[in-house]
Assembly symmetry: C2
Homo-oligomer: 343 residues x 2
Amino acid sequence: MRRLATPVFVVLLTSAAASADDIVLRGMGSLHVGGRVVEIHGKPVRDIVRVPGGPSSRLDPNGQYQVEQMYAQYFLPKNPKGKVPLLMWHGGGLTGVTYETTPDGREGWLNMFVRKGWDVYVSDAVERGRSGFASPDVWAGEPVFLPYADPFERFRIGAGDGSWSPDRTKQKLMSGVQFPVDAYANYMKQIVPRWLSTDEAVIAGYTALVDKVCPCVLLTHSQGGSFGLKVAEARPDKIRAVVAVESASGGNPGEAGALKDVPVLMVFGDNVDLHPRWVAYRKLDLEYAAAVRAAGGKVDVINLPDLGIKGNSHMVMMDKNNDAVAEVIQKWLVDQGLTIEGL
Amino acid sequence: MRRLATPVFVVLLTSAAASADDIVLRGMGSLHVGGRVVEIHGKPVRDIVRVPGGPSSRLDPNGQYQVEQMYAQYFLPKNPKGKVPLLMWHGGGLTGVTYETTPDGREGWLNMFVRKGWDVYVSDAVERGRSGFASPDVWAGEPVFLPYADPFERFRIGAGDGSWSPDRTKQKLMSGVQFPVDAYANYMKQIVPRWLSTDEAVIAGYTALVDKVCPCVLLTHSQGGSFGLKVAEARPDKIRAVVAVESASGGNPGEAGALKDVPVLMVFGDNVDLHPRWVAYRKLDLEYAAAVRAAGGKVDVINLPDLGIKGNSHMVMMDKNNDAVAEVIQKWLVDQGLTIEGL
């Protein structure tokens, strides 16, 4: 290296030098897509208390409002190695933060796949995070708030129902779990409220993103898997592949034939058989996989323990071995011919 | 340049080469700070309809919930030139997206200040964006939704009350306005609901961020200005400077003396005198500035038109001349000795 000292110094003067650990981007930014302007009319003018203890004031909810747009943030590596962008779609009760720094401070899949050379778009579904949410005059139903213990017991971090301990001294962990349990409190800070009435708007937002930035690969998680497969059915010409990590269900079984030319990878973590909810979800996924195959399509299913990758919770991208799982996904994407050869 | 071809190629083989337009980061990621776990008890179990047209189901709101945490995302340039990180705090009804790509697709202040060598932390205030929000069982009052025309008429984009035209054919613009008016629809997609009852929780979240990542400089906008000055009063040892862009008010006048060693820059756009709301806000700011000065502190006030920088709306960081305003702020930060000399 010493021999290169002088020329490297010259490069430093004309541009920033980068080391192997750096992230070198040709661009980064964000955008909102989709949504609509609604006209609220005929609603009664109400008196509300805006600040606790404060005076009552008039609220006239009528007028025009922007609703149901979707936020996405993108990172474009200097030397792209993916043939198309990679879109990361999160699961229920969460936002794009799912793919960022893990709750215990390690790099998440956003950084990992940018480092692998993918243009990555991380979005917040309609109603979540930086996409904002609409008023009760626009959306029926109430948002749902997830209790503190719920993901612990349900996402195969703890050993199922009753495994959470409110004083945190008697927690029963899933055997060999890779989730960073000591950082569970930080994980819970990523949880946001969700509605149960907005699927149509969520899918419209994702479709608008696909129409804007694809062709692309979708990398989805949990609830996002169903959205991803349904959007792929509607836009098979735009989707080069779907990686559905622990999808909460398949797409529309009657539309599975639309994916005959869209390769799909389904990835499942460990201990699925120990929790009836995940047994049921995987069954739905595999039934959808069978429907795609029956129509001439290709669905690969990877149960991570079969590869010797053990202990993964539902939050695979945050688990301590998230890098190993990212490698499995990357290899599959390479095998589908979705990376630029020779780089 | 031709003479350098061979050594540059060698560098390419050992690391990514970067050009002047690239963003070279030694790291990027995100975190949540602050918040608390609340125990909801004694609330009635209700029947709610979760999905429109669906069955009624039981909602028991009692239990433990994580609330009032705050999200921040950080970008750390390869060769930092700021002595401390720069924290960007947005205004009311908005999120950290304020500082990202402008509504018309240009670079925002996040990219600009990262390119200038600052470690930048962009946060979503408690209750907004990726920070999530709490249930009505935790927060009193209702969220407020901003009508479509409101920012147009109020943020000095249009020429005040009545300047919006619902069919968009008869809009009256503020003279020479720099806001990218053609992208107003995209700007409205950045707006999120806000509460009016959460100031204490918002300040606690910002304080937790300061305790985690500072000493630092605060760059605030609008509602965020009041939060920034109040947090600086509480943590003057952690705040090296406050840049308050169109602050909606000052800090606590009685606490202004806490800032005697914290330089403050107040920045105002154009046409402030033409809108009574901004006349009132600037008056509050200048009264606070006087209180800081009376206690021996330093507050610089820049009215951008006095520098020949004209037409700025309230959303200065999105205006077409946002780069010129960024330069004004950067020069002030350099003058305060907050950058590493010789870089």
